[in-house]
Symmetry: C2
Subunit: 371 residues, 2 copies
């Protein structure tokens, strides 16, 4: 979609510093939870017998947000199993920029990589969907995935009065939750088949915590409600049609702790029966770096709005672009999207208090039974 490429280009042209800041929050989520990954390695109980040990980051984007965690994990594995070759596999969808993944991991950018520090290490990429088998059976030892599995494989319905399932109700909400349930079970079943006995998964996903909090909805202005209100304003003003408004839905499901853990605690569930077990679950909120910078440092509402919107736009624009009729000329679609995010930015500029994209993650550590 041209509208999306155009934004990607705008963002990339802002340079490396901009990019780093846009992913600071996502990186903090992973860095803060690295002890869970190291704990999983510590818990894996097999001898240093030269076997091939595979680790994976599934839904890796450019690999930059996980790089410090991966360095620590591979270093720990190298120390624990000195004779075992290590494979590190980055996965995402084919449209992902895998050249950038490789440039980062092979040390061709200004991000510090780990490949020169760890011997007998082999790095690969895969573009197989995590709703299918990425790896041969029983070859995966440490599967990691952060902030990826909220994307569902199919949009089960239109949401009448909102753009995200967190604002849906009734049968529409149910349809998204059911799709989310099926995809989560399929994700876990595929991983269980791939895991070596005793292998672990560390999965840090967007979800709804025990207090009902989720991404951008932690007590202040709700981000997804704002997305919806501004989009509905464009509909009411005639800028987008009622059909386009209805067609605009994030293909995502935010799951509760119970929904995440059900396949692991219900002994009749195929995932449980395949041998996957829950080792730990917890929820955490990681504060929005833009809101923090605004509140604690600069206090400049215009600057906050200007810096905050592009990070929202970077992952949400494709959803709004997909809602627009393909019959509209590309220029027209770009203009609508520009106007939409300008309107969101104006809201933040005019009343900045409460806007924040706080991250709310459910942290799961799982283990395949060691027979």
């Amino acid at each position: 979609m041209n509208a999306v490429s155009s934004t990607a280009r705008d963002i990339s042209m802002k340079g490396a510093g901009y990019y780093s800041k846009a992913t600071t929050g996502a990186k903090e989520v992973i860095d803060n939870a690295t002890p869970m990954v190291l704990g999983a390695i510590e818990a894996m109980d097999f001898p240093d017998d030269g076997r091939l040990i595979t680790m994976s980051d599934m839904g890796c984007a450019d690999g930059g947000t996980s790089i410090e965690m991966v360095r620590k994990a591979l270093t720990a594995m190298r120390a624990k199993w000195p004779s075992c070759p290590l494979q590190m596999v980055y996965t995402d969808l084919p449209r992902n920029d895998f050249s950038q993944v490789f440039r980062i991991i092979h040390g061709q950018t200004d991000i510090k990589s780990y490949t020169s520090e760890i011997d007998n290490l082999y790095v690969f990429a895969s573009a197989t969907s995590f709703h299918q088998n990425i790896f041969p059976a029983e070859t995966l030892y440490l599967g990691f995935s952060a902030t990826a599995s909220h994307y569902i494989s199919d949009k089960p319905a239109n949401i009448t009065d909102h753009v995200h399932m967190v604002g849906a109700s009734g049968s529409e909400r149910q349809a998204f939750e059911e799709q989310g349930r099926r995809d989560w079970e399929s994700f876990l079943l595929n991983r269980t088949k791939e895991l070596a006995p005793g292998g672990h998964l560390a999965l840090f996903n967007f979800g709804i915590d025990e207090e009902g909090r989720y991404l951008g909805h932690t007590g202040g202005v709700s981000m997804f409600d704002t997305f919806n209100e501004v989009w509905a304003e464009l509909r009411d003003a005639g800028t987008v049609t009622a059909q386009e408004y209805a067609d605009t839905n994030f293909p995502q499901c935010y799951r509760t702790v119970e929904q995440f853990t059900a396949p692991l605690t219900d002994e009749s569930n195929p995932v449980y029966q395949a041998g996957l077990r829950l080792k730990s679950v917890e929820t955490r909120v990681v504060r929005c770096p833009y809101e923090r910078d605004f509140t604690e440092n600069h206090g400049d509402a215009e600057k906050f709005a200007r810096e905050y919107i592009p990070t929202l736009r970077s992952w949400s624009e494709m959803t709004f672009a997909s809602g627009l009729s393909p019959d509209r000329p590309v220029d027209e679609r770009i203009a609508i999207l520009d106007g939409y995010f300008d309107a969101y930015e104006a809201r933040v500029r005019e009343a900045p208090q409460g806007h924040a994209m706080d991250y709310v993650h459910i942290y799961l550590v799982l283990q395949k039974a060691d027979n």
Copy 2:
């Protein structure tokens, strides 16, 4: 380099049909030699014991030219070893467009892929240089590489009076041949370590055949001599400096049959001692599709020149761009390169007879000793 990107864009904008034609010759080289690959599979003698079998295309570019060969190879392996998971690994350098590789292999383009036809198959990519170990020891069963290993890892000298080592002499020629020898040995040693006992390599590389023929030098107008003459004209006209002319050298070594086979026939060579053996070697010439089209079909010199130059430019422009001083503004560099290829095109248009980029390959099938 902007000049290069600009050309890549120009070429990509010509569409899929153009692209297919530009790689027709390279694809023919592989398709015609597919029986050698199938013969290697036939010769591999191990039971259907569920082991993980890895095949690789090393220096794959977008994976399109080898796709029919890979389909046949994986189909043959699936039939021979029904219980064994298959891994197909595409390798190239980080700057390669791996997203395009994945789009092609996962069937998201109009090129017919094979992934839906073969079960228990896992596709990966690697951007590790083939001058290093790409795979863990003894895990590779079928290593394939076409038209890639003529690139050497370092340019050992400037060539005083030519742009390619095929036109060099004396100590300059020797320096390129020595670098080519070291890189070839290192390529083979790395692969030997990676090969499982009994594993095979099928390597189809640019080289110099028994009659002294090589790419674009098969009896008519010599392509590399023309590259050099036109570049020297720009030097003589003052468009490029003497230093820039001297700095312009293809980082390539075309090896003779003897040079390709020496590490496999000299029993004191580390490659031979590591257990790699020559099973077959032959040379073939694959006719230039543009020249054939001109000679056998249309006879239109202007059309021939217009279609022929972009395929040369697609792989040679980076070399000429690298020779130009970085002090020149980008626009100036682009203008020089445009003028250069225009001058080559004019030569072809004005005297088309004899111009042809015939492919000359040395086809090697190698096997790691089965203890």
